[in-house]
Point group: C2
């Protein structure tokens, strides 16, 4: 019977420690086409896994589909994230694959790019084999977002692109309610949803350093081909 | 007259905000030989700059010379770091070059690798042209480290390498005093110093997102060839 790997329990235990309140943010690293690294903070939304396969956990986060990391991940799906839990002094480093799920096109669209899933990405491939409804998951997560967060996907261009002055921002919506009342709310909600992409991260190795215990501890979890996980103690 | 770029002042201002206490930790991303990203938490020690060139700031941090990132940086000196200041909700992303300064060999040693400085790394090249004493800076930083931190560079192998059980750790020193008293302290201090490497990070672009102000703000600083910095407002 497949079971949840111990590192998921360790993360959830650390997250639920009151000293780590608000530590649902990690830094995700990607590589661009010129082999330069990039890293930015993202919000951890949830763990998920394919039906019947708790041994194949994935992390759910999200992004604006227009950000540079989306193109970076299309070319190179390798990611590593560092999750520093300051309260308990735990660092989790998770390496694996990221998969971006943009909005499904309303009509067939040859420019629509749903990145192929790497051969070694067992969790993503299992989801695909189970006919996982990516679009439903994307909309479910979008529906949970606050009106302020939803407004952030209504900006008129890719995050990071130049603007002339802060005056321009005054025209942008600051709130996009979950239940739109006006025509404008509806238009904004559609735009936000169109730009909102789901990002799934499939770890294949996890490096857990415990700096809150003396002597410090370090455990490296590596996924086997069958989906099970090996644990190796390591020099901190 | 060259001046300190505004992003350094913004970081120092955020760091000095009481709500950001303990936020001297950032996540540094590198790329390995197979073009996979890596990212880990590191402690910000200080800013520095070449004599008379406050417009060319560098960040000082440190590492064990035996960690994988040292080899990664020899092959590819590109780094990006993400610095999330939770209290004020500021994110600083700094991209540029990293340069590792390991202990100078006691005797001429052909295997000693002091990585070449990239042509575009103006701050590092200026330090070199000014005959900067890298070893003195390394030792100065080492001298500031606590006895517990110093002990962390006395581990018997590269951080991350396998050990059989936690029993092995009982043999490792837990404290290496700044002023060694015993022969063993002296031996440990020598070993720790030998493994302690200075890491200089030279940013060439800085992306500052202010999520603590409404509407959110984003400013991208880019270094010009003369060492001055341009500022561009951007979509958050």
């Amino acid at each position: 019977m497949p079971s949840t790997p111990r590192w998921v329990e360790a993360i959830n235990k650390a997250l639920s420690n009151p000293s780590n309140k608000g530590k649902n943010i990690y830094q995700v690293a990607t590589v661009d086409a010129r082999n330069a690294p990039h890293v930015r903070s993202q919000v951890h939304r949830a763990f998920t896994h394919p039906d019947g396969r708790p041994d194949l956990p994935l992390l759910l986060t999200s992004t604006d589909a227009r950000t540079p990391k989306v193109l970076q991940l299309l070319a190179n799906p390798a990611v590593e994230l560092a999750w520093w839990m300051e309260g308990t002094q735990d660092q989790f480093r998770l390496s694996g694959f990221a998969h971006i799920v943009p909005a499904s096109p309303a009509e067939p669209d040859t420019s629509f790019r749903f990145a192929p899933i790497p051969a070694d990405a067992l969790a993503l491939r299992t989801l695909e084999a189970q006919a996982f409804d990516w679009e439903a998951k994307r909309l479910e997560l979008f529906q949970q977002m606050s009106p302020g967060m939803r407004a952030s996907w209504c900006v008129p261009g890719a995050p990071g692109s130049a603007i002339g002055s802060y005056e321009e921002q005054k025209e942008w919506p600051s709130q996009v309610p979950q239940e739109p009342q006006t025509e404008e709310d509806k238009k904004n909600a559609e735009m936000a949803s169109k730009n909102f992409a789901l990002m799934l991260i499939e770890p294949v190795s996890v490096d857990w350093v415990e700096l809150g215990v003396k002597p410090n501890r370090r455990t490296i979890f590596t996924r086997r081909e069958d989906g099970g996980w090996t644990e190796q103690l390591a020099i901190p």
